[in-house]
Homo-oligomer: 628 residues x 2
């Protein structure tokens, strides 16, 4: 049988290799591919279009698209108005800020963003985190002006962090939050948010500031004397109404507009009820007066004072990264559905600039929200003009309709929030994760429990830590397998899984399924020694041929480092002292390159390196036969 | 061509799989293998022998072995005495503690240890770290009694940590310090230790307490007025003598005893000189009075007071793990040379118990030292009785010879330390690392610079962090390759490396060389999409066959998680929308298991999964020919 020589990669200079590595890390999607071979004027045009995607789809906009966008824009506006007011309360901010945040940011996104379906505005989780982290040091009740300043400054930092990740092309950092982590985290955050609404649902005045499950439940039951039956009654009715409409929309996707219109309908109906019955005198708390007019500028409110700089920087970073994760995930999901591409890093830049602009125009952290974007998509949005329409509707509301919200009860806002976050709890996904990968389920569970019992940031950190630990553990204790030959072929596969595979006498064929790093080099050496000892014992007991060759199938050894190279050489020498020869089969390019640089190829020699296991066995079998 | 079915592993129950995983993580060397099938009485005997290895080699001890062990024991005693005194000074402890630590610990190790060549006693790096960490909070000059108490308590903690790692079989934790990290770390620590000796070499009284390079050099030059010429003269002479003897022993390995005897000879000669010339009156500082007698018990000195508990716990943990790393590395090195096995976890238990016993008998942190063990080995040690002989010699010294050290100058101890640690700087290893793996060299360099400029613990932490980051980065941006067929065979290999390989028309054959985790699933999906686009463009430009099949060679995809499974299914659907079919070839057992549990095997179908790339191409080519 013909034996092929195993080739090593062409040695590249250090600089060239470094440049290629950097290019693959930071520019994996080669975004400037389209620029090649174009005249300079075209390159300028392409660059401007790249930075302002509106210039790409703007010129080809048609009235037909506008018709679809108007409908979807109005639909998401009906969601944005109640949700904006509710989420601002979640962040301990004046409700008007939530409406401001549904005006400027969508306009900025329409100019800079790449996704057609993303609907931008405040989101529950970022509002929760912002409120929780700022409240640790500053009370929104006793120091409302300072709190507002810090909220805007944190939004500014969030935008800066997001834009930096985009510009420095460090977007892969959000990939470090696995799907399992996010499923558990979202579910936990949803529970936390819902628990917070118990304050407005039950009408309690004195509520714990702690977000954890235990303190909240404790507060609910200790303040039983503050429960107001009118509030509870109204809350239960509207919560029921909202949940039923949500259920209807889930059962019949064509009726998506039912659950989209329900929040606004609830607000209108409850406002009318309170107005009619003068219920605010009967103990139902209402929003009260909201100022009219568009967003006032707020760059003068940005507070970089060193006392709070650490707080706002940390808050900005955490809310920035988490809202980025949601926004990018939403963008990618809909892009995959519609079969277009979204440049993750460019989106991060758009979302970042949106938040920076927002921080200077009285907005707080915003991003693409999943529920709102789903409604946007289902309502038939064709381009980002949908966001412009929504912003225009919010503008009309801000200029003209503010007095209508005077009598809107807070309890209804709480019910709207609960209905919105219930959708974040994805039990089918959690069950699917349990079925497929138990360690991933542990990650999911630890994120969930961490968020509920410890804190939002800690829950996320613990889950991310376990995910990375799992990756390292799989390398530290890799799978190894004994291979056998499928009769009549040159295919070698795992003896445990393939009953038709059989051992080759005189050969011990092993497969190592991980890179050989410092993490596992000692383990691998000891494991192989153990395989050899067990083989020799078995051969001795059963009087079969003792192994002469140990063939290592290196197809799955994805990389190697200096510790790995030493282990291979040590193994070769210790095995030869026992009369066995170590042979490597099918080493990958990078491994061959390192073996070459370590001058170890000669030590393995012409009969120590083979292109496939089949060639190794065939070639060495003939020399085995020649021996007595 | 015959096509084989791809088999998935037998589904195991969760508990069974968990048990197997745990067994492989914690008992990879299956240490109880020898117990199988033995009668109960035998099992008890084997257990006792396992815990006390002395019962294994003790009964077969002979006078011939004793002859070799006596010689090696006396040789290492001649090293142990000056080194013990010097290293204790390095830890800011009274010199007598160093001798105590060369008496009890070797005796304990002889009973519990598994290595034949390991010579136990104080070591430079552990002494350095202990002294540096304790001195951050407690001054050995103004609070000597408290300092001593804390040193013993830290030793106790170190022993507990080491023994726990052994008992809980967490020994693989020390594998997290790669060879590159240790090379850089040892070299940096050697420089730090040598710089500290400048105090005694130059006779400076007021020296900085900071260990970093810059403060020490600053201190040396600012205190030029304190330089004492007599001290410098003596120091330079003896340092030169020691370095020359070291060089001789390195050139002619048979003369190893020259460098082994040199420290003791220097101590004797310099003591005589100082005594003869009454040099202590001329500015040369001497050790002074050392109390006689064996180790006093010190368990009453263990200080668990909460004020310092954090300090001693941290110091104990750090010194424990670092000295464990050295001791285990030394044990493994000599075991490999001599072709016997050393159970890492058992050794950790032995070293841990040795330190716990030591902390109660006035000893500080000890472990197996590399230089001393090398001398032990070269001097012909056959068993651990060598340690017993050394301990006996130290005992004689403690009982009778203490007054002889009165006039021993501190400068000679400094010279001995410098000569000892110079051997820790392994430049050939660093150069070999630079040649083979540049990232490993970065790790080595960062450990070195971190230790020198920041601190010992931080340097180690930074290097360990970069090592782990490298592992994660290789997964986040894995190598991918385009495969082609070696004409006339069924072998497929990287087109870039094998000029004889050629493309198969209509097929895009890709290889992914990493597990598909959350870390890289997005990247992999985008990379494959890019491959497909480039293929289609090229086929369009060159009028060749557009690809119909995308074959993913999964031989090197060592594992997959839920994110990875979603990416494969998303790819399959998005590619089929473009008229391409995604086909998987040679998935490994674990990947097949997860695909099965995720019910995704049906979606790939009978023509979507193949055992090898060759079978996939052959089978699909026939269907390709049937198409118009």
């Amino acid at each position: 049988m013909e034996v092929h020589k195993v080739m090593a990669p062409q040695p590249k200079t250090f600089l060239l290799e470094f440049r290629d590595r950097v290019k693959e890390i930071f520019f994996p999607d080669d975004p400037f591919r389209q620029f090649k071979g174009q005249p300079t004027r075209m390159k300028w045009l392409l660059t401007t279009q790249y930075v302002f995607p509106i210039l790409q789809w703007g010129p080809t906009y048609s009235f037909k698209l506008f018709k679809s966008d108007i409908i979807s824009g109005l639909t998401i506006a009906s969601l944005a108005i109640p949700q904006g007011i509710s989420y601002a309360k979640l962040a301990n901010l004046p409700p008007i800020i939530g409406l401001y945040s549904s005006f400027v940011p969508p306009l900025v996104y329409a100019v800079l963003g790449s996704s057609r379906d993303l609907a931008v505005g405040p989101v529950s989780i970022a509002s929760l985190i912002l409120g929780a982290m700022l409240r640790q040091q500053v009370s929104p009740v006793t120091q409302p002006v300072l709190y507002l300043q810090l909220a805007f400054t944190a939004t500014f930092f969030a935008g800066v962090v997001q834009a930096s990740l985009g510009v420095l092309r460090l977007g892969f950092i959000i990939d470090f939050l696995s799907k399992a982590t996010l499923v558990g985290f979202m579910a936990g955050a949803a529970i936390i948010v819902s628990l917070q609404q118990l304050k407005s649902l039950l009408g309690i005045e004195h509520f714990t500031h702690n977000m954890g499950l235990v303190p909240v439940i404790g507060s609910v039951f200790h303040r039983r004397d503050e429960w107001a039956w009118q509030t509870i009654l109204m809350g239960v009715c509207f919560l029921g109404f909202l949940l039923i409409t949500r259920h209807i929309s889930m059962r019949k996707p064509k009726l998506f507009w039912v659950s989209a219109a329900a929040p606004l309908a609830s607000v209108i109906i409850s406002t009318l009820l309170v107005f009619a019955f003068k219920a605010q005198k009967h103990g139902i708390s209402v929003i009260g007066h909201l100022q009219e007019g568009l967003n006032p500028p707020s760059w003068n409110m940005l507070n970089f004072d060193s006392t709070y700089l650490g707080l706002v920087a940390k808050t900005g970073a955490v809310t920035g990264i988490i809202s980025l994760t949601e926004g990018i995930a939403v963008g990618r999901t809909f892009a995959a559905l519609q079969n277009y591409q979204v440049d993750g890093n460019k989106e991060m830049l758009a979302i970042g600039l949106m938040n920076v602009a927002g921080s200077c125009t009285s907005c707080y952290v915003t991003t693409g929200a999943f529920s709102r974007s789903a409604v946007n998509h289902n309502a038939g949005a064709k381009t980002a003009v949908s966001n412009i329409v929504m912003a225009a509707t919010v503008m009309v509301t801000l200029l003209l309709l503010m007095p209508l919200f005077f009598y809107t009860p807070n309890v209804v806002l709480g019910a709207i929030i609960i209905t919105a976050v219930i959708g974040l709890m994805d039990f089918p996904a959690a069950i699917a994760i349990w079925k497929v990968d138990k360690v991933d389920f542990l990650v999911c569970l630890s994120a969930f429990l961490g968020v509920i019992f410890i804190s939002v940031q800690d829950g996320l950190a613990i889950a991310a830590g376990i995910s990375l630990l799992k990756v390292l553990l799989q390398i530290t204790r890799p799978n190894t397998a004994l291979l056998g030959n499928l009769r009549g072929t040159h295919i070698y596969c795992n003896l445990q899984h393939y009953k038709d595979a059989s051992r080759v006498p005189g050969f011990l064929i092993l497969s190592i399924q991980a890179p050989i790093y410092f993490l596992n080099s000692t383990y691998i050496r000891e494991r192989i020694s153990r395989w050899v000892e067990e083989e020799e014992e078995e051969a001795h007991d059963n009087k079969t041929t003792t192994p002469h060759y140990v063939v290592l199938d290196m197809s799955a050894v994805t990389a190697i480092d200096t510790s790995g190279i030493s282990v291979l050489t040590e193994l070769r020498s210790s095995l030869s002292k026992r009369g066995l020869q170590l042979v490597l089969a099918n080493p990958l390019g990078e491994v061959m390159g390192k073996l070459q640089r370590a001058d170890q190829i000669q030590s393995f020699g012409t009969d120590g390196l083979y292109l496939t296991v089949g060639e190794a066995v065939a070639s060495l079998s003939s020399s085995l036969k020649e021996q007595p």
